[in-house]
Amino acid sequence: DAGITQSPRHKVTETGTPVTLRCHQTENHRYMYWYRQDPGHGLRLIHYSYGVKDTDKGEVSDGYSVSRSKTEDFLLTLESATSSQTSVYFCAISDSGGGYNEQFFGPGTRLTVL
């Protein structure tokens, strides 16, 4: 299994509070991704990173920011959490960006915003 961990695994927070989710990898893969999973929507890309300090927006980036100061860590921040951000969040990594290369997924973080 690819070495990907996410923390926390579960979190309950209140509307308006900041939240940071962490993804940590031990594979030295260049690319890292944050997805959210919601019923009826599958997985949707929030942000991704193609190197240290290099990030770009995905399909549903509003309300989220990311940072990557080290190869192994990719942080997702909700500056002011809203109930619509209640979801399961997955981190993924890949060695190369495109083509046939597999994206490996972390175990997910269940976030509930009350």
Partner: protein
């Protein structure tokens, strides 16, 4: 933008039988890749099988095979000899081909929940 459609929210199959999950996609590109991921109750996303668009031959991985119809933009997953451990949510996903920046992203369908009946 590419879209991926899975029209069967739920499917069920008797253990040891064969089941086919449907996936269609919309794209104007000729070079791309298609994937099927499995998500069991543990929530872990697991790659089941993948297909390159420029390959005519359908991909096969043990009991899992695909029927790739490029002209119809269809990419169905066939599971033979279904087992209880196959019970999961299955997602179809699309990725653009080539090495252009931005081609890294996966676009997922909404998933099909597969139940195995003992």
């Amino acid at each position: 933008a590419q879209t991926v459609t899975q029209s069967q929210p739920e499917m069920s199959v008797q253990e040891a039988e064969t089941v086919t999950l449907s996936c269609t996609y919309d794209t104007s590109e000729s070079d791309y890749y298609l994937f099927w991921y499995k998500q069991p109750p543990s929530r872990q996303m697991i790659l089941v099988i993948r297909q390159e668009a420029y390959k005519q031959q359908n991909a096969t991985e043990n009991r899992f095979s695909v029927n790739f119809q490029k002209a119809a933009k269809s990419f169905s997953l066939k599971i033979s000899d279904s087992q209880l451990g196959d019970a999961a949510m299955y997602f179809c996903a699309y990725r653009s081909g080539g090495s252009n920046f931005g081609n890294e992203k996966l676009t997922f369908g909404t998933g099909t929940r597969l139940t195995i009946i003992p």
